[in-house]
Symmetry: C2
Subunit: 203 residues, 2 copies
Amino acid sequence: MTSPETRDTYHHGNLKNALVAAGLEILETEGLPALTLRAIAARVGVSHTAPKNHFGSLRGLLTAIAAEGFRRHAAFMREGLGAAPDRPARLRAAMEGYVRFATTHPHLFGMMFSPIHCDFEDPALVAAAGESFAVLAGISEGLDWDKGTGPDALLKTEMMLWSMVHGYAVLTMSGQMAGATGQDDLPGIAEIMPGFGYRPAPA
Amino acid sequence: MTSPETRDTYHHGNLKNALVAAGLEILETEGLPALTLRAIAARVGVSHTAPKNHFGSLRGLLTAIAAEGFRRHAAFMREGLGAAPDRPARLRAAMEGYVRFATTHPHLFGMMFSPIHCDFEDPALVAAAGESFAVLAGISEGLDWDKGTGPDALLKTEMMLWSMVHGYAVLTMSGQMAGATGQDDLPGIAEIMPGFGYRPAPA
DNA sequence: GGGCTTATCTTTCCAACGTAAATATTTCCG
DNA sequence: CGGAAATATTTACGTTGGAAAGATAAGCCC
């Protein structure tokens, strides 16, 4: 996917996308500390100052990479939704997709939620993150729990689900959950989520 | 608390503690990106290579700072416990202490859970983090929910509470929760936690 | 199709960073 | 008192992101 180390034309032609793709590759193979401006540019075959024209700074490039990460993240969450027979199963599938993305792409996932690396004010990133959040919002409606009917019911439900699954993903992935509990084999996200039911579907 | 910029003796005398204290100060005033080896050393008044004798590397020093962070984190969680009249109130107090620490010391909190900066294998860090986890463990016992009695009941309860409160803290603090929901004024941790009750105290 | 404008990329340079190695100073302890 | 160990400094090095200036290509208008 990424262009080779050399090229015949002075202009790359598709540098913006190539840089994002190269960054994703580096994240997968070498991790976050190796994700330097110079390394990304070298992989595409351009000078280390070339990205500045498209992204302004390293932070800008990382933000674009994170945005692509959120799109894939949303795709992971949506993956099991089709096969789910009912709403509780959909809830479970989305949560497990969330965690599966984190464990499959740990470095990318870590960067996507790091204020040091990403600019959460960036409109493109906000939009991409909203794509993931929308999946959560979709399964939040009608969830039956003690705050599922009052004021801000939907907002509270979304926040509760997001907080739980995100905390689980972060803490297990970093090894802190294993370290603090002393357990190697930890329960999955479905095993630590209260068994929420759903109120009858609206109409 | 920290030594002044100059000193009369060749040996500092208490460099190890002074470096940790200086690091904490920098985190409060200038944030995580400013927490460099050279900046910490300069604040204490030693050369930027002096910390190596005590901590090995920058990562080692940051790990020690994080450990002190976890001790203070545990103190925040314990703070409201005494005044709580019953067990549900204790649960709420601990959760709110967790979040209050994160909002009061955002940069320190962020570093404490960053595998890039800290070495989660370090015994001192594991011990300090365990101190925080112990507070959670203390309020997990007897919590009444659908997984509160089966196998690994206590472990699952601890993991559920920790995941929820940690996810909430991270996502609200980074601004992502506000960004994705479009809400400025978000519900507190107590408002998005299921209203757990407790089974009768054991004897 | 000639010429101006703009976008894109390179080259060069710089300050700041973490770390290594060699050296200086102090303390500890026999 | 004296050598060993601990502690801190000096110097140097390779790497990083970014700024500045110049080179090259593309777009576009007449």
